[in-house]
Symmetry: C3
Subunit: 260 residues, 3 copies
């Protein structure tokens, strides 16, 4: 009798654990799980997932790879771990390299906060293990950096020093040494992709006041107006309409001041 109880208990637990493992270990399974949840709670969401959300990813103007970069930046910036396994997998399927996903997380440690990166790392670890992605596919801790545009950086540093040097000398110093003379020059993400991720994270977390500088920088780094426009469209779904409507006037002002 007791043995039977043990067996039932253990087998029940094993099957439960196995099923949960499947959900967290497999993006595909998690997606099926989410779809199954939709039908049990909100059938309209399943309809919208198969309709407009699926179509969103196929819109011209932004590649699926770029849409994945935008989406994972939004998830990390908003610390939405539940959806990360599925969208990290999708990103890798859409042509984002493992080294690029790694570097997106590294970048957002500074632009979304250290703990957001720590949470994302815990998810990415499982995704990488499942796909057999080892250390050889990751960016080195200390790579040879991209060349710096010394004039542009001197201008930026001087302006920030003048504005805030007496308010928070530590912030100003780290911004120069750690961000613009180190992080932004790491070669595992192109400056354009790094900007794309930064702008996406800013919009997704409602950091309206920081969009002007970084959207201009993104476009200096090669993001086109039509791509930026589709970034906003992608984020309407993944960061919610209000974040995008708060970003629209800023994007409009940036667009209007730049040549076509």
């Amino acid at each position: 009798m007791k043995l039977m109880t043990v067996m039932i208990a253990a087998l029940f637990l094993f099957s439960t654990s196995w099923a949960q493992g499947q959900h967290t270990q497999s993006g595909r399974t998690e997606s099926m799980q989410t779809a199954s949840n939709f039908t049990k709670v909100a059938p309209a969401l399943e309809k919208y997932a198969r309709g407009p959300l699926a179509e969103l990813w196929k819109r011209p103007g932004l590649t699926p790879r770029d849409r994945s970069l935008v989406t994972i930046a939004a998830l990390i910036a908003r610390n939405q771990t539940v959806e990360m396994p599925y969208y990290f997998d999708l990103a890798l399927n859409n042509g984002v390299k493992a080294s690029e996903l790694s570097e997106v997380i590294t970048h957002l440690a500074f632009y979304s906060g250290w703990s957001n990166a720590a949470s994302a790392v815990a998810i990415a670890k499982d995704v990488f293990e499942r796909r057999g992605i080892g250390p050889d596919q990751l960016p080195p801790a200390s790579p040879e950096l991209l060349p710096l545009n010394e004039d542009a950086e001197a201008d930026r540093a001087a302006r920030v020093e003048q504005d805030f040097g007496k308010v928070a000398a530590g912030v100003v110093q780290y911004t120069t040494d750690l961000l613009f003379r180190d992080l932004w020059l790491r070669p595992a993400l192109t400056p354009r992709d790094r900007s794309l991720v930064t702008v996406s994270a800013l919009i997704a977390s409602g950091q309206v006041a920081q969009i002007t500088y970084h959207l201009n920088r993104a476009m200096d780094n090669g993001l086109t107006k039509s791509q930026a426009s589709e970034v906003l469209t992608q984020l309407a779904f993944y960061a919610g309409w209000p974040n995008v409507f708060s970003a629209l006037p800023v994007a409009k002002a940036v667009f209007e001041k730049r040549p076509d």
Copy 2:
């Protein structure tokens, strides 16, 4: 000896798993668990829970059902899954129909972000299963829509098109087709309740720039000033004082421009 180990291990795990299941499956148990945690960490919170927080729900000016709509909107907008089982249960006890809770989640997929809805769906699934709420009690994916106020919608669409049509044509198009000619017309939530949920989510997530339009719309849809005032009071507790103090000047301006 080994058998004993297995039995102890299995029974220990079973009891642990069962207890955890209780916590996540039962709002009542979770509430007791939270209260027990309070006494072990912050006894003042237990006092405030029994005092001002309990009284908040009994204040005149907003029904318990409305307070539940406000509170679950805040939790979904802020992605606070830990408290969802308890407050989803409370909402159903306070007269929010399962179909309405389902529709709140569907609505906030667009106004808080797709992943917020996915997280809420996973919680609601357990609540619905425990209460025996089946698909027959859920809103259909494609219901007959409420009639559209064509003039008002034409005005809205024209204004947004003029403001942002050249910035993000995709956002503008989806806003019309998906939100105002579909989502807002779904009959499982009244327009007044849909507005109540929208305004609550905006305040709870600090989307100050979007409050003016939606608070006016909510009042056009039947929300009174005294109800809106109590929405702010409810959210002070559930979204934190700062979010409410940032919303107060906007609410004041909206109130002052409307007839009493």
Copy 3:
């Protein structure tokens, strides 16, 4: 055969459960786990953790105890539970008393939202249990309150009543009775530390509009300019650069209007 299956299953589950328990129960282990995750996903983050992040905590201008208060306020305000076990432990190691950590959570129930506190309480419970911190070390629910500066409070209450008394009488009443005539007078945190935690939570959650009042209050309560400057530096890492850059102009304006 079946017995063997049961044994393997049970022992496997037991070891898994034990390992997970270690991670969540021990800040030290969790930190090692995070470091291990970094090497498997983003080696640069491990480098930054050992370099600039470790140095940050040793910078002059703000004690490790104050940096811990700033950091746990940021984590609670942002609901980042994954990192809480480690940083709650670190806070206690850095000289934050258990009663103070308890009171920080109580305070942020109102300044970050009730559910943020509920999540933090669940984490702190495990930390307290592991360290043998019992009810005798917690602040009483209803202590003798600190003396009130009646003139300053009358001024504050009159201003808020004039601004928002007709918009949300409930908010105004609770702000007086619950916050400024109760919460702020609880003796388990000094007013200076309470202000430090409040300002940190505001910056960390992007509540820019509320910083001016509370940064002035913090400095009235004894926070120096150089300390406030280092609070911003600490938060650049733990709340992300954008939140700090949005706070910098406000901090600058506050600093400039105050005598040195």
